[in-house]
């Protein structure tokens, strides 16, 4: 393993994050506060407790997932797309590194940034609602796995994208609807029976359900299925990335 190269990529990507630290830090704090004002206070006050958890506290895991998923995708896709766009990818392709090292560098940095923002949101939420974390290790595992798996997806999107428009296509048209319909702001038990069944085909449901379970011990689907879903998703992304580097699809002529 060329760990010096991994460290170089990781450091280079993190430098981009630190250059805009105020923006990286303030943006999630502001958006989370807005969600709490709108959903937690204005709307939440009219919604009764869900399985013994106040609505404001109930949406915290979903809110963290929403930001972490979106940021993981955008960080990783931007990280690898930008060198393609600028032409600096020649350096990666001509360096003595393999695809595993490239992925560890880029995905590791993207996941770190998303994790940082996830933790910022968690801390911000404590100023608005009372939060308890019943299964802290499971919470950390779900959070880290989500950051990693969606950073892998973002990496794939960045490789696939031919322009900036395409890069925002997957997060905006696919992932955002899946997150909003995946139980971020509600329990799927609140839906009519038909929609409850349809919702089970949304992979994000398993993610948010598992993450919420780690907080409050309540879940829409069994925790085993949530864990299996996130692991299967991570495996699928890794397999696609492996194929991309083996064939050189969209990166090597």
């Amino acid at each position: 393993m060329n760990w010096a190269a991994v460290a170089a990529i990781y450091r280079f990507e993190m430098a981009r994050f630190f250059r805009t630290l105020a923006q990286s830090f303030l943006s999630p704090v502001l958006s989370t506060s807005l969600y709490f004002v709108v959903f937690g206070t204005a709307i939440g006050s009219r919604i009764q407790e869900i399985e013994g958890v106040s609505y404001g506290a109930f949406i915290v895991p979903g809110l963290i997932m929403l930001s972490v998923v979106m940021l993981s995708i955008s960080n990783a896709s931007f990280g690898i797309y930008f060198p393609k766009f600028l032409g600096t990818i020649y350096e990666l392709l001509s360096a003595p590194i393999n695809f595993i090292e490239i992925v560890i560098g880029y995905v590791g940095a993207a996941a770190t940034k998303a994790l940082f923002v996830g933790l910022v949101i968690l801390v911000t939420a404590t100023f608005f609602v009372d939060i308890r974390i019943e299964h802290p290790f499971a919470m950390a595992a779900f959070l880290i796995l989500t950051c990693l798996s969606f950073s892998l997806l973002g990496f794939i999107v960045g490789i696939w994208a031919g322009n900036f428009e395409q890069m925002s296509l997957v997060p905006q048209l696919v992932v955002t609807p899946l997150i909003f319909l995946g139980g971020t702001f509600y329990s799927i038990s609140m839906l009519p029976p038909l929609w409850q069944t349809i919702t089970l085909f949304n992979p994000v449901v398993y993610l948010i359900s598992g993450f919420r379970w780690s907080f409050y011990g309540i879940a829409d689907v069994p925790i085993f299925w949530s864990l299996l879903a996130i692991l299967a998703f991570t495996g699928l992304c890794l397999a696609i990335i492996g194929w991309i580097f083996k064939t050189g699809w969209r990166i090597r002529s």
Binding site: G87, S94, I97, S253
Partner: protein
């Protein structure tokens, strides 16, 4: 001398059937400067990209320092530095950081003294804290060279290093290349500028339509293929070439006041003495005599157009 770079029957074809490289074979010796000349689309950049790992070859083999670029890609690539044709740099990054990144990418640990030496050599030390976007085009090109040198390569590829730069910077680049050669770095450069190859290369390779037409020592090439011309200017114009001069295959210029004689500098007898005697016998009075050697550019044009050199 040992071949540090060995290319054997390298082919690259694309899905649409286009063959960018048609069986290129080439040995490059350690410490030499090879200039690859060729028109646009000749395959120069494809050849470099394939050796550097950016493009996957269809067939053939390449070894760098004895390491195969596919089976031992780490060892091979560690020996190679690449300065691309296009200026490709992250605009918001600082010069120091981007050069340090390149060193790390090639598996080297931090060595500030080495980076300082490189940046000073390339007159970039004062700009080390500047963001790339604040630099001029010439400075950016220097940054590309600094990045390529950051991991101390033994083989350096310069893909049209002076394309679009001013004359002063071009001369600076030539000096940098000369210094690198002195330091033992093997340099392969592609260029459109024939004078660049003439000025700095030890050997010249001509590539066209994916085929390497020739690789030869520059001076030998000039001597073997360079024709010399002697222009005999007359005091009075003539309508036709006198009959006694027919055997010299002269060309009369449009104004009729100059006879042009082409000869081979390597021939045992150039025929100049006989020509001048015959000119005098024909009753022509000389005003002036000039000689001119064909440049590498003419040789190159003749080669790629299939005409006589």
């Amino acid at each position: 001398m040992t071949a540090i770079l060995s290319i054997r029957d390298l082919r690259k074809s694309y899905a649409n059937g286009f063959e960018a490289l048609k069986g290129v074979s080439l040995d490059i010796e350690e410490g030499e400067i090879l200039a690859l000349l060729g028109p646009n689309g000749a395959g120069k950049t494809t050849l470099i990209s394939t050796v550097c790992g950016i493009t996957t070859p269809s067939s053939g083999s390449v070894t760098v320092g004895g390491h195969d670029i596919q089976t031992e890609f780490r060892a091979a690539r560690r020996m190679i530095g690449l300065v691309p044709q296009e200026i490709a740099l992250e605009p918001f990054e600082k010069v120091w950081n981007t050069v340090r990144f390149s060193r790390g990418l090639f598996g080297h640990g931090r060595d500030n003294a080495r980076l300082e030496e490189i940046l000073r050599k390339l007159s970039l030390w004062d700009k080390r804290r500047n963001a790339i976007k604040e630099l001029s085009g010439g400075m950016k090109r220097r940054v590309l060279i600094a990045k390529a040198l950051a991991h101390e390569p033994r083989v350096l590829f310069l893909d049209e290093p002076t394309a679009g730069v001013d004359v002063e910077l071009r001369k600076d680049m030539w000096e940098i290349v000369a210094e690198l050669k002195q330091a033992g770095v093997t340099i392969i450069l592609t260029t459109h500028y024939i004078e660049e190859a003439e000025a700095i290369a030890d050997r010249v390779g001509v590539i066209d339509k994916g085929e390497l037409l020739l690789v030869q020592d520059k001076d030998t090439l000039m001597a073997q293929m360079g024709k010399k011309q002697i222009e005999v200017m007359l005091t009075e114009p003539v309508a036709t070439i006198p009959e006694n001069l027919a055997e010299h295959s002269l060309v009369l210029n449009d104004a009729g006041d100059a006879l042009i004689y082409t000869y081979d500098t390597n021939a045992e007898r150039t025929g100049i003495t006989t020509l001048l005697n015959d000119v005098a016998q024909a009753g022509l009075v000389l005003r002036d005599v000039q000689t001119r050697q064909s440049s590498l550019e003419e040789i190159f044009v003749n080669l790629v157009s299939g005409g006589p050199a």
